[in-house]
């Protein structure tokens, strides 16, 4: 086989998510009253990147065969923090941004430390830390409020050269600065190896712990970038429990749609980004076809079920029935 066919096989999940998104987005813009305009794309992009950041965060953890149920709460906490700190002069704002991102990184690092060194199950550990992070968010913002540096907010949620959504450019930059180096580093490979077969990785002398720790910590950072962007869109901080939880659950849905295996070791954040964008587009599609928004959860559920079923076909090939339960 030629090299490109191996590449294709490896990227199948990502390409599939990309395809689903393109088709859905095409249908959406074709039926939008305004059509494919810079405005429509900008609005869609701004809605989509929030989930895209959180889904990227989830990908990093899922790749290690873990799960992070606190991403939505880190997202909420950093939103509340940003509504206090990302304000004032240029220097003050810059420090605020660094502080918000540092907080996300710290939250992720705490998750990682508990899961890896405390040997707790990721699902339990992150439910608990998620509750703590939300508690902190509530202390920061008992009621919605606060403000943000509006010049920065408008710049990052507006358009570049009148056509390209700035939020999309930031998303691309984050992919290039965070995801690409991580996935190609030794630590990134350790995270994948640990997710695929932890014993094999251990036997091969792979730095499993450091790899997993890096994955959890960076997940916190990515969720914080999402929280920052939420502040830029809304100009306020809001410790909204339902919204935090929804982001956590949607991030898992986006990851699955994006071809990332919940069993770990397989998938890419790029796929998860397209999964997130596709998941967001479901709501937009209902809008242009004049469905009641009440239908949205139902449709999102159906789409998710279909996506997950695609992955289950492998079970038909199993010849030893005991392998069904592995």
């Amino acid at each position: 086989m030629k090299d490109w066919r191996y590449w294709l096989a490896e990227q199948r999940g990502t390409l599939l998510a990309f395809g689903i998104f393109i088709v859905m987005f095409f249908i959406y813009t074709a039926n939008h009253p305004a059509g494919f305009t810079a405005n429509v794309v900008q609005t869609a992009s701004n809605k989509g990147v929030l989930l895209a950041f959180v889904a990227m965060a989830q990908t990093l953890v899922v790749v290690t065969a873990g799960i992070d149920l606190s991403v939505g709460m880190i997202f909420t906490l950093t939103n509340c923090l940003a509504s206090w700190l990302v304000i004032g002069t240029g220097i003050e704002t810059a420090f605020g941004v660094v502080a918000v991102l540092g907080t996300g990184l710290l939250c992720g690092a705490i998750n990682g430390a508990i899961v890896i060194y405390g040997r707790l199950q990721p699902i339990v550990a992150t439910i608990a830390t998620g509750a703590v992070y939300f508690g902190l968010a509530l202390l920061l913002r008992p009621f919605p409020g606060g403000s943000v540096n509006e010049d920065l907010a408008d710049a990052l949620t507006g358009r570049l050269f009148g056509a390209v959504p700035a939020s999309l450019v930031v998303l691309l930059a984050v992919v290039l600065v965070v995801w690409v180096p991580f996935s190609r580093s030794v630590l990134g490979r350790a995270a994948y190896a640990a997710g695929s077969s932890e014993t094999a990785a251990y036997m091969s002398g792979v730095p499993i712990r450091r790899g997993k720790f890096a994955a959890y910590a960076l997940a916190g950072l990515l969720a914080a970038i999402g929280g920052l962007f939420l502040t830029f869109f809304t100009y306020t901080g809001d410790a909204a429990y339902a919204s935090g939880n929804a982001y956590t659950l949607f991030s898992i849905a986006a990851v699955v749609l994006g071809g990332v295996s919940l069993f770990g070791g397989k998938g890419s954040a790029i796929g998860a980004i397209f999964g997130a964008l596709a998941f967001r587009t479901i709501g937009d599609l209902l809008f242009v076809f004049d469905f009641d928004p009440l239908w949205q959860p139902l449709f999102q559920g159906v789409i998710l079920l279909i996506a997950v079923s695609l992955g289950a076909f492998a079970l038909f090939r199993v010849r030893n029935r005991l392998e069904w339960f592995l």
Binding site: R189, T199, N320
Partner: protein
């Protein structure tokens, strides 16, 4: 090689797992430029020995010296750094990563902090070529490769680490003839290049072809070291056995083994590459043993009978009538009446957090209930019977089964199935890891059940047990029945030599003459 300076030396190495002694003051000398074979039966301590060498387990006592200076390895990575690389029996490849990723996994080449994919590709291609496996594409995912190709990747991965000592643990067990020949020429070349090779294999002909030096292990000790070719196969087998009978077995009934009508019969069972035209019969009142080395298809054979495998070819007959057993539920159904005592009681036999009572009645709930409601009184009677019959020692029926000792847990597994009064009982190495007293009780029970008319198929890795308990033993090798041992033929020597397939060509029963 005589007089060569030893590269690596192990002295007085001991290791215990709980109460089990895996290694007892073991010694080993390894010299450069030679192939050293390690022999021993299942559980003789070979695997533990190499795990100690490779830094996977830490020894309880003893010392290791490399180039004359003492070393300790805290992890496999530390052993690798010192130049000791092991190819394990259980493969150590990461399935979702590519061949090239796997080959460089311990120490990937980096550039500006990121993995240098070009360099990685080059290293992988070189290593694959050195392992004689240039046909494997570096970008292929390991999980998509067949087992034999994975083994070649495993060897390439080891070579990419530039080892001084290379350990091969049953490296050829998954390989076909052509691949074995390829590996042999690779190994011989490595020997010429000055590597020290440790070779663990059960295939005597391979050892005869490759080894310069041999060491035999038994019960965790090295019992003999000799220059390859200086002992006959029979002498080697003698060294490997050398074990006293320590168990008391119930007397076997004196009768012709084939007198009983077959209750369970298999005709030419084949499954993927694990079972190869297996035919056998088990009569009522008969205990038939399955022997051979670990992993020669015994487990798969039992699973095949129990309806777990899909895509099975051949026929299974119960009472002389062909049946299709589609699931364990069908197998335990009264018309067939089969029970399987699984190998891994913790995952396949018991629900550890649940109570003794619940675990006992699980398999028989359908018999104990009317219209979906459990008859508590009947359940209690049956449970009392079983606890008495098997002498299960428990503080109560309502404590979690996980709190019992290993032997008593195993009794619960067996009792659970006996509650259905099965006619056919399949046992998968049921005495592994349980104490001698409980073992004896189980032997008595097996004979009692057989005398009551049950047909018993019994797989064990313990040769004493097979000899002491079974009326007949079928020895499996590579998924096929290589030999049937009956009555006086049933000796430890015969079991081991047929398990190693020493008399491979002339001693087997006629197999697959017609299809």
């Amino acid at each position: 090689m005589d007089g060569a300076v030893p590269l690596f030396r192990m002295e007085g190495i001991s290791k215990r797992y709980g109460g089990v002694r895996a290694l007892e003051k073991a010694e080993l000398l390894v010299t450069s430029g030679s192939i050293h074979a390690i022999l021993g039966e299942n559980g003789a301590g070979k695997s533990t020995l190499i795990k100690v060498m490779a830094g996977v387990v830490a020894p309880d006592e003893g010392r290791m010296t490399l180039d004359g200076s003492e070393v300790t390895f805290a992890s496999p990575a530390a052993a690798n750094k010192a130049g000791i690389v092991c190819i394990f029996q259980e493969l150590s490849l990461v399935p979702e990563l590519s061949v090239a990723d796997n080959i460089v996994i311990s120490d990937p080449p980096t550039r500006f902090g990121m993995i240098d994919r070009k360099a990685q590709r080059r290293i992988a291609e070189e290593a694959l070529a050195r392992a004689g496996a240039s046909d494997i594409h570096p970008l292929a995912l390991v999980k998509d490769l067949p087992l034999s190709r994975r083994q070649m990747v495993e060897i390439a991965k080891a070579l990419a680490r530039k080892p001084r000592i290379l350990i091969l643990d049953e490296a050829t067990s998954a390989l076909a003839g052509a691949d074995v020949a390829k590996i042999f020429s690779v190994l011989k070349r490595l020997r010429r290049e000055g590597l020290a090779l440790l070779y663990i294999s059960h295939r005597m002909n391979e050892i005869a072809e490759l080894a310069d030096q041999c060491t035999v292990f038994r019960n965790g000790r090295n019992v003999a070291s000799y220059t390859a070719g200086s002992k006959s196969d029979n002498e080697v087998v003698e060294l490997m056995i050398g074990r006293e009978y320590s168990h008391i077995f119930p007397p076997k009934p004196a009768r012709a083994a084939s007198a009983a009508p077959p209750v369970l019969e298999a005709r030419k069972l084949s499954w993927v590459d694990r079972l190869d035209n297996v035919s056998l019969t088990v009569g009522a009142g008969e205990v038939v043993g399955l022997g051979g080395l670990d992993g020669q298809g015994q487990r798969e054979l039992l699973l095949a009978f129990f309806g777990v495998l899909r895509g099975l070819s051949g026929q299974i007959l119960i009472d002389g009538r062909p049946v299709a057993i589609a699931s364990p539920a069908a197998a335990r159904d009264d018309r067939i009446g089969m029970a399987l005592i699984p190998e891994d009681r913790k995952t396949e036999g018991l629900m550890l957090p649940m109570t003794v009572r619940e675990n006992l009645s699980f398999a028989a709930l359908d018999r104990l209930s009317k219209a979906g409601v459990i008859d508590r009184a009947a359940e209690q009677r049956l449970i009392d019977d079983m606890v008495g019959l098997l002498a299960i020692r428990t503080a109560g029926l309502d404590i979690p089964v996980g709190a019992l000792s290993g032997g008593n847990q195993q009794k619960v597994v067996i009792a659970k199935w006996l509650m259905r009064q099965p006619r056919i009982i399949l046992l998968n190495d049921p005495t592994r890891g349980i104490d001698v007293g409980t073992k004896q009780e189980l032997y008595q029970l097996m004979r009692k059940l057989a005398d009551a008319g049950a047909a018993i198929l019994f797989y064990s890795t313990d040769y004493d047990e097979l000899i002491g308990c079974c009326d007949r033993v079928l020895v499996l090798y590579d998924g096929a029945v290589k030999r049937e041992l009956v009555g006086v033929e049933l000796t430890e020597r015969a079991l081991i030599s047929s398990a190693l397939n020493i008399h491979g060509e002339n001693a087997g029963p006629t197999q697959g003459a017609d299809a």
